[in-house]
Symmetry: C2
Subunit: 328 residues, 2 copies
């Protein structure tokens, strides 16, 4: 990438350069120590210009029509004069996920609009987990003038929690269909949701979508309300006819204002930042220790001892950190 200084890069981001925006996100996602120091400097520069967007996390299982929904939802927001950034968190670092390139091609209306910015997931192997870097990408987009940030993730494993930890509001997108799908695995996700949206409320699945919405309303009574005294809304919509999409936005926007005015949003973001600090401390600390040469060779030796069953995991961990003079 262009060796722009963090100062000039942050200035270009603040002036609205898309090229600088993309470069800045690449910088925050970079795994090298040199880039990390630059990224930290960049973030410091843009920090005062951040925090003014509405940050919406969106999750849904593969096949639910997430890209199509985001395309319809984002287009409606663009028509209303908003600037929309879409960031993806792909948890499938070890599995054969296929959404990386697919997103942009399925969100054609957004990808081609100057007021929208679509960024696929960072490449696998980003040092230290993806969510902390996505949190910084959100800040970069806000500094670039985007007032609506959509952070999407596929509903697998821990990625919803990671996305919820950097979002103001969390939208769960589901397909028409019922029964077992409502219980179990999704219960944890339902507790994260600020709104549930049943997609594909069109054509032959219109009735089923309404019925599914009813099922979710019932199911939501069985989980703790996310906000005390606020019933989690369940909507139906069609990403193809766009019917109901505006209502989803209105519900989110109303809830966002309400949470902001009550002080909840400020508290939520403060809590998220504190949690982010804990994660960052772990990552940074571990990176630094791992890179010490004495540690690297000793680690290989003890790793073998552990793998051969000659030493326990915890004894090896303690011995290793004692080598590096890091624990008593």
């Amino acid at each position: 990438m262009t060796p722009a200084s963090p100062t000039s890069l942050s200035r270009d981001v603040l002036e609205g350069s898309r090229k600088a925006l993309a470069q800045a996100i690449t910088l925050v996602e970079s795994g090298t120590t040199a880039d990390r120091l630059k990224a930290e400097s960049l973030i410091e520069h843009i920090l005062p210009a951040t925090g003014k967007s509405i940050r919406i996390g969106i999750t849904g299982t593969p096949g639910v029509g997430k890209s199509t929904f985001i395309n319809a939802f984002g287009s409606m927001l663009l028509a209303a004069g908003r600037k929309v950034a879409v960031l993806a968190v792909d948890p499938s670092s070890t599995s054969n996920g296929g959404s990386i390139l697919g997103d942009k091609t399925r969100m054609t209306d957004l990808a081609n609009n100057p007021n929208a910015f679509v960024r696929p997931s960072p490449s696998r192997g980003v040092t230290g987990g993806i969510a902390p870097r996505t949190r910084e990408a959100v800040l970069v987009c806000e500094a670039g003038g985007f007032d609506t940030i959509i952070i999407e993730t596929v509903g697998v494993g821990q990625s919803e929690t990671a996305v919820a930890a950097i979002s103001d509001l969390f939208l769960l997108l589901v397909s028409p269909g019922g029964g077992d799908d409502l219980q179990g695995i999704k219960r944890g996700i339902m507790e994260l949701a600020d709104i549930v949206v049943v997609n594909k409320a069109d054509g032959p699945t219109t009735d089923l979508a309404e019925q599914t919405a009813g099922d979710y309303r019932t199911a939501l009574h069985m989980v703790r309300p996310k906000h005390p005294g606020v019933t989690t809304e369940v909507h139906t919509c069609s990403s193809t006819t766009t019917q109901g999409v505006l209502e989803v936005w209105e519900a989110l926007n109303t809830l966002h204002s309400r949470l902001r005015d009550s002080g909840y949003l400020g508290q939520l973001r403060a809590t998220q930042l504190k949690q982010g600090l804990t994660t960052e401390l772990q990552l940074l600390l571990f990176d630094q220790v791992l890179s010490q040469p004495a540690f690297v060779s000793e680690r290989e030796r003890l790793e073998q001892a552990v793998a051969n069953g000659r030493m326990s995991v915890s004894a090896a961990a303690r011995a290793l950190l004692q080598t590096a003079n890091l624990v008593r």
Copy 2:
């Protein structure tokens, strides 16, 4: 707890004392530094007596009948002369999970058998995550003479991955029912599964269970096989009539032998231990740093700066670790 020395406690565990077994597991789950050092000593003592069991991870959504299945499955193993330990990993540290006490009361046949040992999830707030401690609990049970270790978890979030990381084989228990339930969220879990078992193949749901099994067989063609060249088996069974339960065990046992003979199992366990070492290093390192007094007060100060938006998360993390002389 009784202040038994790690040496005498490990001797009692190895001699088959149930009381010592329970105490040893409490010790490995303890969060205090003193107990951690004792636990490490205990594990070192018992290490040569570990590793000889078959470790079976079991997951399934709430309501699928996990406890009933484990009760039937375990009773069948007891009748066949095996010694069965059941450990639970409950990921719901923040949600209102209710399985903690429920398990033991639902597994009455196991709970009352001298050759079985049922251990509910560790209490919330165990320092440094539950899975590393459960890995040690597995070792304690093996040292206590248990040849079959069942590690169960509810299908929420990252707990399956954690359980798969300490199991030889992973069993996914599902309910009769189909459609959307097969796709999406469970895809990641299906990739972890060595065997899929459709429960409740009895009474009015017999046919539906068979049909669901067929659906899973189809669905499994869409995910990577866990073991190259080995098709993941899908079974039906009834935990109430026990029909099919023996076949599940035979399939697991055959696969376990096959994986052991091919050298895969040895490699898997070595890899798991190496990953365990990484996790343990992170936990231990972070614990040690967190406990430094200079760090604690500085952390509070910088946490406030971050929460107020005056400082970025990554700059604060770096500044904190510089305070503790831990990073450059």
